[in-house]
Symmetry: C2
Subunit: 386 residues, 2 copies
């Protein structure tokens, strides 16, 4: 049995293959199958209004709260391919249903790669046949096959009393030269209703993937799926389920942040002292997306003026004369005025902690994780797509 | 008489000096004086809620629609300096009023430079005295003295029948290592009420400076001031005034875009086919601020998928299946699907024109100017502030 990943929980098999979608010749298709006895599932998808064809297919599939299989391809997003793209995504779903002998509606489809290129369906068809032959304890191989510009595969797991949760993930936000997207698959052998799974997944993603903000971009393909086999026979409480799902999501989010393209700094931004958690999140996101702030982080520059200039534009309650900023717990700005020694704070380490108090005395608080804006980010993302 | 700039219209004098605020030893203070016979004026300021002390002073000064002088310093933003910062900005105002013999409330103050450093008031005081001695036809010198990381001074003018408009500007958005801010001064010898000036200035800035969006950041100090001396004796119609003020604003905005830090591409984004001009502006801004799109522009990469992914997140009406994208007037995406030859479009030139039709058939349209995201942008903005 796997020690981590999607085949760590009982009741799941996986397969990976090289279908020839990626020009590199690396593995580019994966399949995850839930062998039951239960098939409850939940999913969250991109909020982008331009959605890839596989997202449309998967949204329909999850509507009844059940999934038995998820097929993945990397190297091609199957996004913005018109009616043909929709047909190809539906064909992938049908082929997998036939291969693993389930209903069409029990299959979700996830794709990641370049937008606007037609899927090579001959390769995909042969790939799905190979995936059907290769099912087994292959979570690690599946995690490798969904990678695009990821430099390492991302897997996680957590063991509870008699049950467990496993996960794999790739990408983060829109990070790479049209070859990114965040795809995450979470498996558990707990027994849980689709409602319970949905609650656990939404609670976990809200504070993990949703607050991991590298460049503010949102892919057309982002998909996080949670499937429960019930194979452990254990039905955890909602709280226990929430906690376990949160743990693997947090672990995968950490790995995504650490492997983000061109990253030299991991930056954690906490905003407090504003009207609500939503306002705090607005302000934290505004700061996390500010290029001048991100460049300063790249330069290990304790330039707190940029923090003030950025949060001053945020949709959040604030007292403009009572804003405080802390870098690595050292005050650099108090009451919107520089603190002694502010320019000498050491930000040379890889991890930088930024805390902003908007000064209203309000209870709102939120944390966002982001990265710096580096030369490598520009280099990777300016490379020619074709 | 100057051939362009703020002393091109009759009734204005300017001065520049080196007060020693900038470590470089370059000129760092300027003064513009309206000798009348009229003193009507208008101004627009940063929308940032964290505002520099000089902005507070200038907002109060313009409240009665009159200004007789504007003093500028570069090298120090006098922002986030608490009560002392407010006192220093007020002291600058008072010193200038004494020097040029006007009321305190007739003087506006503009500062640009690093946030969170106290102004060296001894230098500033001596500088103001020198400015008072040096008043004359010195628009060009004043334009040079307000530069921070600008590589060239920015001046503009337009001549009408018997009257004219002149302008100087510096910076653009928040572009440089804490040393930016957009400051613009516009002068005219037309006779115009402060209401007419206000209308002309707001109409012009809405479609020039407000749609020039380099990195989405907004300075604590941005200020655009328009003063009318009435020295020509000509009272133009509102339409004539609007047109002339728009022309100099557009000219200065072009110069700001061309001189933006690290720029290798000038990108013009037009969005149409959505519910309103405001929605079109939202979508154009969202695209203009998308780092992945900006990196693609740097790489001359016709990666239209990033355009779709970016506008799909915008707060604008769209038909997700009917979006069209044109690069330099060539269709690269029609009905949300790649157009033939899309990957071969030549974007190697400096100017790139991007047009996006959101496909609803709506009348909304807007244009935003932005730049690419280059290595130099990261380099310039990651340099240590202190």
């Amino acid at each position: 049995m796997s020690t981590t990943g999607i085949t760590f929980p009982a009741g799941f098999e996986a397969a990976a293959t090289t279908a020839g979608i990626k020009p590199s010749g690396n593995p580019d298709m994966a399949l995850v199958v839930n062998n039951g006895p239960e098939f409850n599932a939940a999913a969250v998808f991109t909020r982008n209004r331009v959605v890839a064809s596989p997202v449309k297919v998967s949204r329909d599939a999850i509507a009844n709260g059940q999934l038995k299989a998820v097929v993945y391809n990397s190297g091609n997003a199957n996004a913005c391919n018109g009616t043909q793209g929709d047909k190809d995504a539906a064909a992938m779903q049908t082929l997998v249903a036939q291969t693993v002998n389930v209903e069409v509606r029990d299959v979700a489809v996830c794709s990641t790669g370049l937008i606007g290129e037609m899927l090579p369906m001959e390769n995909v068809t042969a790939g799905i046949a190979a995936l059907g032959e290769g099912l087994g304890d292959n979570g690690a191989q599946a995690a490798a096959a969904i990678m695009t510009t990821d430099t390492v595969r991302k897997e996680a797991s957590v063991s509870k009393k008699g049950w467990s949760v496993g996960a794999m993930g790739k990408g983060v936000g829109m990070m790479a030269p049209s070859l990114a997207t965040m795809l995450v698959c979470i498996t558990t052998d707990a027994s849980a209703t689709s409602e319970a799974l949905n609650d656990a997944l939404r609670a976990a993603t809200a504070v993990t993937f949703d607050t991991l903000d590298i460049d503010g971009s949102t892919s057309t393909n982002d998909t996080v799926i949670l499937m429960a086999s019930g194979a452990s026979g254990v039905e955890p409480t909602q709280e226990e389920l929430n906690d376990a799902v949160f743990q693997v999501c947090s672990d995968i989010a950490d790995q995504l942040q650490a492997d983000a393209e061109g990253v030299t700094k991991r930056v954690k931004i906490t905003v407090e002292g504003t009207g609500s958690d939503t306002q705090a999140l607005n302000a934290a996101r505004t700061l996390g997306r500010d290029n001048l702030f991100k460049c300063a982080m790249f330069g290990s520059d304790p330039n707190w003026g940029r923090v003030l200039a950025a949060v001053g534009m945020a949709d959040a309650d604030m007292d403009p004369d009572n804003i405080s900023v802390y870098f690595n717990d050292q005050p650099v700005c108090l009451k919107t005025t520089g603190a002694p020694g502010a320019r000498e704070v050491d930000l040379s380490g890889t991890d930088i902690d930024v805390r902003v108090d908007l000064g209203t005395g309000g209870e709102g608080t939120a944390t966002v994780r982001t990265t710096d804006l580096s030369h490598d980010y520009v280099e990777i993302n300016s490379a020619y797509s074709s």
